[in-house]
């Protein structure tokens, strides 16, 4: 029986995100979900980098769901759970997010609760104390994990004095109080500092319900301080952790911004190195050597900068061999062009990834949100797709030679000998 032929995908339909405004608040949405579910996410420019103590951003965000002026924390969760809605908060370096997922039939009740959270959080002293202590304990557990330690050391050493390098430390827990949280909230959780993204099963009624009920603390002007990026190169940090049975490795450096013409081909090159299961690093360190369960390289994006990182956890016995293999794989990409077949693989895989990340409104709005926050839109992905369809082995070689040479920050945490 002859094997079936692979049919080519030549174009991708990018969805059209609609935009409306509630007062001055930009509101983006994408409808078309069959199931009766709606998701709303509010993003504030209020991440960890917005104060000296990164804990301020984290706890302020978390306190949004610990009771409001109308409801105690307990009453709030009773109401929320009864309508089976979920409200989650997440804090990143630059942004803080609060998102709601609910069934359409409870949308009105859910929106009312969300509006309470983002405008009138209770900031109760006792709830704050419990939240802080529990966060402290969870953080201590995190600090036992080699991969977490390696990631922390990596960013600290890459960025030094820039806010991107100020990461959470245990001592930050000693000097944070409710007053600071309230100030942080009043300063940053305002209309002029936010965007809203909605997706799911949306109709005219949903939109008018949003327009009638969604409100946010009115705009107060604020200034964003932009710190020039300073990054280190070539630092090597080795940390011994005697009880480790695997070593975590993290290698990387700051690369060009998304607006640079080389950014797209470079990110494809980084993908070839370690972005998928058949990548150079995965093939060599996992499938050939069995040093690790997995190894990846990817581009981590801040608003104003991009970081290439390679990370893995390996058998402690083979830590140094693993590092050597990583650099050899980087070198190989700089020395010989990849084969047409390998490139074909990468292209198809990435196109497939596009299709999956744009499958349905809930996935698609995530992609749009990510672009929008960097001041881009789906045009960027049209360009990306174009570049991908036409990229040659020579371009991959050029990118490797131009950007992969030396000077990586290298962090190893594990049992070292």
């Amino acid at each position: 029986m002859s094997f079936p032929e692979i049919k080519k995908v030549k174009s991708i339909n990018f969805p059209r995100v609609k935009q409306t405004n509630i007062n001055s608040l930009p509101f983006y949405y994408l409808d078309g979900l069959e199931q009766p579910i709606i998701k709303i996410e509010v993003i504030y420019n209020a991440g960890e980098s917005y104060s000296e103590n990164p804990l301020l951003a984290i706890l302020t965000n978390r306190m949004l769901t610990e009771g409001t002026k109308t409801y105690t924390s307990k009453e709030f969760y009773e109401k929320l759970d009864f309508i089976a809605a979920e409200i989650n908060t997440t804090t990143f370096f630059e942004n803080s997010s609060i998102s709601l997922v609910c069934l359409n039939k409870y949308f009105k009740e859910a929106i009312d609760l969300l509006v309470e959270c983002i405008n009138y959080p209770r900031f109760d002293e006792n709830d704050f104390k419990i939240l802080k202590e529990n966060a402290y304990q969870r953080f201590q557990i995190e600090l036992e994990k080699v991969n977490i330690l390696a990631r922390r050391e990596f960013f600290k050493n890459l960025f030094d004095d820039h806010p991107y390098g100020h990461i959470l430390e245990l001592q930050h827990f000693n000097n944070v109080n409710v007053k600071q949280l309230k100030d942080f909230f009043n300063r940053l959780y305002v209309e002029s500092n936010a965007q809203v993204y909605m997706s799911g099963h949306i109709d005219d009624e949903t939109i008018s319900m949003i327009k009638d009920n969604f409100k946010m603390n009115p705009a107060t002007p604020h200034k964003e301080t932009i710190y020039p990026i300073t990054s280190n190169r070539g630092k090597k940090i080795y940390i011994n952790k005697n009880d480790a049975v695997q070593s975590a490795i993290r290698i990387g450096k700051v690369i060009i911004p998304r607006t640079h013409p080389d950014f797209i081909p470079l990110s494809i090159t980084i993908f070839a190195l370690g972005g998928y299961f058949g990548s150079r690093l995965m093939k060599r360190l996992r499938e050939e050597k069995g040093y690790t369960y997995g190894i990846y390289s990817f581009v981590f994006s801040h608003k104003n900068t991009n970081v290439m990182t390679i990370f893995t956890e390996v058998n402690t016995e083979t830590t140094y061999e693993a590092i050597k293999c990583i650099y050899e794989e980087i070198d190989k990409l700089c020395q010989e062009p990849i084969s047409e077949l390998e490139l074909e693989n990468i292209k198809s895989y990435l196109i497939g990834q596009f299709l999956r990340s744009l499958d349905g409104p809930i996935n698609s709005i995530e992609v749009f949100k990510d672009l929008n926050q960097s001041g881009l839109d789906f045009d960027f992905y049209e360009k990306y797709l174009n570049c991908l369809l036409n990229i040659s082995p020579e371009t991959i070689l050029q990118m490797s030679q131009r950007y992969f040479s030396g000077d990586y920050v290298e962090v190893v945490v594990g049992k070292l000998n």
Binding site: M1, F3, P4, I6, K7, V9, G32, L33, E34, Q35, P36, I37, S73, K74, Y77, E78, L80, D81, F82, A84, A85, V101, C102, L103, I130, E133, N134, Q137, R138, Q140, I141, L143, E144, K145, A244, V245, Q246, F277, G278, R286, E287, K289, G290, Y291, T292, Y293, E313, N315, E344, N345, S348, Y349, I351, G352, Q353, L355, R356, D359, G360, I362
Partner: protein, 415 residues
Amino acid sequence: MLKINVKRYKLSNDLRIVVNEDFTTPLVAVNVLYKVGSKDENPEKTGFAHLFEHLLFTGTKNVANFDEIVQLAYGENNAFTNTDITNYYINLPAINIEIALWLEADRMQFLNINSNSLEVQKKVVIEEFKQHYLNKPYGDVSHLLRSLIYKKHSYQWPTIGKKIEHIENATLLDVEEFYENWYVPNNAILSISGNVNSDEVINLIEKWFGQIPPHKIKLPIIEEEPEKKERTFLQVERNVPSSAIYMAFLMSERRTTLYYAYDMLSDILGNGNSSRLYQSLVKQKPIFSSINSYISGSIDKGYLIIEGKIHNNYSLEQAEEEIWKVINEIPDTISEKELQKQKNKYEANFIGSLIDINNKAEFLAYYEYLFDDANSINYEIEKYNQITINQINKIIKEEIVYNKSVVLYYKKSDL
């Protein structure tokens, strides 16, 4: 009620098929469930079902590199193994569905494993073992707990395996025997969800899977786990930032009505911030930094578990006593509203989990296995809705009791 359209077929070799047409997506998920998990393993060769799942990605006689073909067809594929099943899926544009069917049919009949691929995958799985079960705080809990809860049933080891040596000792002969016995059409369910026409797809399935011969399966004898008659207790000391407690209770099988009652009870106890344990022991009396309750969800007798991390100024004994207080308050205090809250949550979660076609295909295969009819997926929410306060009260009074408890103290060492 849910209305997921389901079409079911069976080939002459007893391969069962479930198709869900979903024209809202350009993609399709092709899912193959094999009715074999770690519970079917030889107690001296544990971790094998999972190791075997790894090996099935290293290629078949016709396909040297499985992932490469999937990727060239714009797809992604993965798999998981648990105590009961091994489940593979490929997600790709629906125009390339035949590629997925060809690959899965190949995987069912043309194993191609050599000693080199076996040796490498053994190493990879051992690193997975270390990464998830040894190199993380509290990583060995599932090993400890399972061996306490199960004295007879083969759920006593986790899917990764009892110990690293078992993985090291796997041989090519073991691999071949395992494959011959379990990877046959009469032990599999093929489910498909996505942009396909069911008549067309069934013809393609017949084309690729129709010729694969069935094979009589040797089923291992799995002993039923007897009811617990007295408290089971273990304390270990580990270098962790805070002590933790785990309290487990054997529960009803997946296919019984009471399974749903246990599931709801675990949520009343400790799922989410409005749950009883969280409100009492994290908020009112802050003894725990976190506390949860959930069920293991396995097909044979699973367990309901309560687990919490304790603030350092409390002892494990105090913590356990406080949990018992919360448990003992439950009988006759559950309100209709509290029950309705749980029912609403199941409805929302279940609907939400079926947005993704990979999940939908996986669930369809699993419900076909569980109840011999994938349509049962449409009655799942209803089954939760029918649970009564009386059923939950009966469980808490008769089963969630001291003499049937399995308790693990995971103590922070005083180093």
